[in-house]
């Protein structure tokens, strides 16, 4: 299977240099080729294992509890304005 590294990287929101693309291409093809080994296994009628153990809903009482303090939540922000995270303009034509 040919993997379109540039396209998948874009899906993953990763900018790759040309050099990275050249290095990753054969490495990822090798890995993909290796993992295709699982196509040999007969999985007819086998239930998928979605998680590390069989899970049942874990309920708890729905009570109001203090959450992370606003200042603490904002302390690691790369850029902030007041009580908000500051980001570049998202909507075209809108005032930033």
């Amino acid at each position: 299977m040919k993997i379109d590294v540039a396209y998948v990287a874009e899906l993953a929101r990763l900018e790759l240099t040309d050099e990275e693309k050249t290095v990753f291409q054969p490495q990822l093809e090798n890995i993909v080729k290796y993992v295709e080994k699982i196509s040999e296994v007969d999985v007819e009628g086998v239930e998928p294992m979605m998680h590390g153990r069989t899970l049942v809903n874990a309920f708890r009482e729905d009570v109001v509890r203090p959450s992370l303090d606003r200042e603490a939540a904002l302390a690691n922000a790369p850029e902030r304005v007041g009580d908000e995270f500051l980001l570049p303009k998202i909507v075209e034509g809108a005032e930033s």
Partner: protein, 471 residues
């Protein structure tokens, strides 16, 4: 014996007898790091003041080194990634809270492969960690800093995490005991996620007894992690007292022995371990885990898939690195991530995104989950015939820096630890011997069923006794 050489049990006894205080013990570890960390590189950061302050406030507490992906309030938590440089945790992970209430304090943050992706700690974006037994060799990974700190006596004990072998393989490389608990035994709240259906925190220690004590402190239900059942935590340390090999059925799976690329010394040490178990009254039982050969492939679909989703949170918006080059939101994501992540993390994100992408999901991720069921059934069947499996922990002893250049070759180092991780069962690595030529440590792996930690620690302890002191 120097204070920094002590394990948890001996340190507690010394403090209880008034021979030394928690502050003196913590100071001894700090002094040892001043002398040795430049050479070994086990720690990324060590907030000495905070550690000493905690020791003063908890006069009976024992300091524990913490892998740099576990959140401790007020300390950095970088996951050895440039993308989290400068990040300071706003809260304690549940394991840290549990540790504190059981007489332990976090002291120092140890190196790892970036986001726990790797088997040599060479993928750390922030520093080099060397094997204390031979500085030209890797400590293993991803919990390489934890293993080097324990093996080099730069701590009393350490916390590691294991997703596909990241506690057990470095423990084997650095002559320490490592326990990967059953999936769900220990809370993951506050532990930066790599692959959520596999990640577990566990102890890395100087003895099995220490591992039992520390695991007892870490384990238990946590309402912040829905995958931790309300299963009581036994007193592991009390349970393993007087453990013996008599009548223990040790499973030997041929799939773990007839392996291409296994180092002959690893084979010899593992076979000698089996012989010692038998001489001490264990019964060796042949078992088969027929889907073992597919485990690596399943893992390198499921783990990257989960990682690609988990690492989407590193987007330069709320915390972590933000590119100075970004002009709009799209380039803020793509450039921040490009500048922040190292090559192995990028490869796994791409791999994970690929196997989850439209048109490929069923063939890769969906199918891998079904094969995972078959792998888990293999273990259930084997444990109908034996109490524990014994196998090599890694196919080789610690290798040299840059020796494994190709990513796939590096992945194959986790051959023996990945199947049990996929099955969610518990496993340990216990030091078993040293190679004759290079004098490097080699551990063996014990595997028991899910939530059979008592059994696992008992057989590990019994083996440690019959193995005797290693030179």
């Amino acid at each position: 014996m120097e204070l920094f050489e002590l394990g948890i049990k001996a340190a507690r006894e010394g403090i209880a007898k008034g021979e030394f205080s928690s502050v003196e013990l913590t100071q001894a570890v700090i002094d040892r790091c001043h002398a040795k960390n430049a050479e070994i590189g086990a720690y990324l950061t060590f907030d000495e003041e905070q550690a000493l302050e905690l020791a003063r406030a908890n006069p009976k507490a024992v300091p524990i080194a913490v892998k740099d992906l576990i959140n401790v309030a007020g300390q950095p938590c970088t996951c050895a990634s440039k993308i989290l440089k400068g990040y300071v945790s706003p809260y304690d992970a549940t394991v840290i809270r549990n540790m504190k209430s059981h007489g332990f304090i976090p002291a120092g943050r140890v190196n790892m492969d970036e986001f726990a992706m790797g088997s040599s700690t060479e993928n750390s974006g922030l520093g080099v960690t060397r094997n204390p037994y031979d500085l030209s060799r890797v400590p293993g990974g991803s919990s390489g800093g934890s293993a080097a700190a324990v093996g080099g006596n730069l701590c009393i004990a350490a916390l590691g995490t294991d997703t596909g072998g990241s506690i057990r393989q470095p423990a084997s490389f650095c002559n320490c005991v490592g326990v990967k608990p059953s999936y769900g035994r220990v809370s993951r709240y506050g532990v930066t996620a790599f692959a959520s259906s596999l990640d577990q925190v566990g102890p890395m220690t100087k003895s099995v007894e220490d591992a039992a004590i520390l695991l007892g402190a870490l384990a238990g239900h946590d309402e912040m992690d829905g995958t931790t059942p309300r299963e009581p935590v036994p007193d592991y340390a009390a349970a393993i007292e007087g453990a013996s090999m008599k009548g223990v059925r040790i499973g030997v799976a041929k799939e773990y022995f007839d392996v291409k690329g296994m180092d002959p010394e690893v084979k010899r040490i593992t076979e000698e371990a089996l012989a010692k178990c038998e001489q001490s009254g264990a019964e060796l039982v042949e078992v088969s885990l027929p889907h073992t050969e597919y485990a690596m492939a399943v893992y390198y679909i499921i783990a990257p898939a989960e990682a690609s989703a988990n690492l989407a949170r590193f987007d330069g918006v709320r915390y972590g690195h933000r590119s100075a080059e970004s002009k709009d939101v799209f380039s803020l994501y793509t450039k921040s991530r490009a500048e922040g992540f190292g090559p192995e993390v990028k490869r796994r994100i791409i791999m994970g995104t690929y196997v989850l992408s439209s048109g490929y999901y069923d063939a890769y991720y969906g199918r891998a989950q079904k094969v995972r069921t078959l792998i888990t059934r293999d273990f259930a069947e084997a444990f109908g015939k034996c109490d524990a499996l014994l196998s090599p922990c890694a196919p080789t002893p610690a290798f040299k820096f840059k020796e494994l250049q190709d990513p796939l070759t590096m992945y194959l180092n986790d051959l023996f630890t990945i199947p049990s991780a996929l099955a969610g069962v518990c496993a340990s690595s216990v030091p078993a011997g040293f190679t004759r030529d290079t004098k490097m440590p080699v551990g063996v792996q014990f595997i028991c069923g899910a939530f059979e930690e008592t059994k696992l620690l008992k057989v590990s302890k019994a083996f440690e006794e019959i193995r005797g002191t290693l030179v």
